[in-house]
């Protein structure tokens, strides 16, 4: 009669302990399938493999960040659905959420590392300071740089959550006083998955973790290391204002007729065409809305250097630098050079005339 007892440490066991039925898991599977644009029948397969999957040991490191990413995840709108991810993982270290503090907290990290050597996933939010040895961001007497290297050494994979850890984000913005870099600049010998966004869509964080646990492998990644199921399309590809873009109907300012008619925001600086994320489909706050639906262009927050793309209201075709002075200087130098060239020509001519006079 004991053969059915669920394996210790599996997701199924964790759920059963909480009285969560397999129907809930199936429902979650359907939800994930929709989220990842998998065929709807995949929901059942996801649920089955989740039930038998080991809970993934996770060590969550927070570096130069604002805690917005973890807020995004823990305050997500559909708590019961998003909380599922806490059943999929065993969160062994997270400074903001854990009860332990001080040495006990550090010990939790080291213990988890030892117990799951080679099998744990490191989640990082925040960029890594590297200037002056990385002293601009330290915890427990260690720089973030040291902790990252130490923790990543025996990890299975790294999950960079948020644009700061994925691409450097705001700390990396010009002039980058702390020498902030993305995790992938430091950890080069382990798979790094970038779940970018400032903050990332909670469903995307949860979905990526679910993918790891369900399929036991990395999701397919785009050229910036982001999971394709969520970052495969640009905002522009899935934007409901796209028909207006195609027709050439643009809002020119935020209070003109075009804006009131809900026309395309390209000319108000929308970065949707060059931004890859799930906002236009998943939306925010439980599918309520997303920036473009609220009338503001996309800032491009899931792309590298979004902070330095010349300004949120500068449109894509516009140059990012200021030209006035350079062009003025170029014109002045051009005029002088032109006059100079002409003077040289005059002198040559004069000389030729003189020489002709001499020979005569």
């Amino acid at each position: 009669m004991d053969d059915w007892v669920m394996e210790q440490g599996t997701v199924g066991e964790a759920l059963a302990r909480q009285g969560v039925s397999r129907r809930s898991l199936l429902k979650y599977g359907s939800y994930l399938a929709t989220l990842m644009a998998l065929p709807p029948t995949a929901g059942r397969a996801i649920a089955q493999s989740l039930a038998g999957a080991k809970r993934q040991s996770v060590i969550w490191l927070s570096f130069q960040e604002c805690t917005g990413c973890i807020e995004s995840l823990t305050r997500s709108f559909s708590p019961s659905v998003e909380e599922m991810i806490f059943n999929l993982i065993s969160l062994d270290y997270q400074e903001t959420l854990q009860a332990a503090a001080g040495e006990a907290a550090e010990k939790a990290r080291l213990d988890a590392m030892a117990a799951n050597k080679g099998k744990y996933v490191v989640v990082v939010d925040g960029s890594v300071s590297t200037r002056d040895g990385g002293i601009y961001s330290c915890a427990a007497g260690k720089t973030n740089l040291e902790v990252l290297k130490e923790t990543a050494k025996d990890a299975l994979a790294i999950l960079s959550v948020g644009t700061c850890s994925s691409f450097g984000g705001i700390p990396h913005a010009h002039p980058n006083p702390t020498g902030a870099v993305p995790v992938s600049d430091i950890v080069t010998d382990k798979p790094v998955i970038n779940v970018s966004g400032c903050p990332p869509v909670p469903e995307v964080i949860a979905g990526t973790v679910a993918y790891l646990v369900t399929f036991g492998k990395l999701p397919p990644l785009d050229r910036l290391g982001r999971p394709k199921p969520f970052f495969g399309d640009s905002i522009h590809d899935r934007c409901y204002r796209r028909p207006f873009y195609d027709k050439g109907l643009f809002a020119k300012s935020f209070d003109d007729e075009g804006a009131r008619n809900g026309w395309c925001l390209y000319e108000c600086g929308c970065k949707g065409p060059v931004t890859y994320n799930a906002c236009a489909t998943t939306k925010w706050n439980g599918g309520t809305s997303f920036p473009i639906q609220s009338g503001h262009g996309c800032l491009g927050c899931s792309e590298p250097n979004f902070w330095d793309m010349g300004g949120f209201y500068k449109t894509l075709p516009q140059p990012t630098h200021h030209h006035g002075r350079d062009i003025g200087a170029a014109a002045a130098v051009g005029a002088i050079a032109g006059a100079g060239t002409a003077v040289l020509a005059r002198q040559r001519r004069q000389k030729a005339i003189e020489e002709e006079g001499k020979t005569k």
Binding site: E267, M309, L316, Q318, I327, A330, G334, A337, A342
Partner: protein
């Protein structure tokens, strides 16, 4: 730095500096060059000279009767792509924004569909010009590298621009980056080759017109 960041940032900046420097340099040079004094006796002066000059300029905008029939297709194709380019550059909303961010000047644009149609027609005219250059025995002999280069740097932005607007082949950010870079290539080539005719045509045609009008010749 992505391709688009590079294109929108340093590349376009350098290209515009080179363009402005080059154009002013060549114009200033021409202006200050020693002019041979015209020793002929002026047959007409003042208003008459002016209208003669303008008349000559206008008449030269279309081939003379004797050649008109033979060069008709060529003339029409040339006008088509020149006007087409002007419509694209000054009529497309995104180009107007580009111009606005540099000069502060702006005006209303044309619908995207119109611009796309004009681009296709322009491209066809440009292709025709190239084919003609390659097949016409006389043109072929007198064509040099800079003729082909001028064609290339003019056509490339039209092709890449069309691709960008239609989201063809690759990701939009790369398309836009490549398009801006192709414009950079056009800008840096402009002052130092035959493309400079866009400015010089006014100088040379006016000069010729004035030269002959002064002598009372009707050309």
């Amino acid at each position: 730095m992505t391709l688009l960041d590079f294109a929108r940032g340093p590349a376009i900046e350098v290209a515009m500096v080179v363009f402005v420097f080059g154009v002013i340099w060549r114009l200033a040079w021409l202006l200050f060059l020693p002019h041979a004094q015209d020793r002929s006796k002026a047959k007409i002066t003042g208003g008459a000279l002016l209208s003669g000059t303008v008349g000559s300029f206008v008449r030269h905008m279309w081939p003379a009767k004797e050649y008109a029939a033979r060069t008709l297709v060529h003339t029409v194709a040339s006008y088509t792509f020149h006007i087409g380019l002007a419509v694209i550059v000054f009529g497309f909303g995104q180009h107007i924004q580009f111009i606005r961010s540099i000069t502060g000047l702006h005006w209303g644009g044309l619908p995207t569909a119109v611009i796309s149609a004009v681009s296709v027609i322009t491209l066809a005219a440009l292709l025709f010009m190239l084919l003609r250059r390659l097949t016409n025995p006389v043109l072929k002999v007198i064509s040099t590298f800079t003729d082909y280069w001028s064609w290339f740097v003019t056509t490339l932005p039209v092709v890449t621009g069309l691709a960008a607007v239609s989201h063809l082949w690759i990701r939009y950010e790369d398309l836009l980056g490549i398009h801006i870079l192709s414009v950079c290539l056009f800008l840096v080539s402009f002052p130092f080759g035959k493309l400079m005719h866009a400015f010089l045509v006014f100088v040379t045609r006016t000069q010729t017109g004035m030269f002959y009008s002064r002598r009372g010749a009707h050309v």
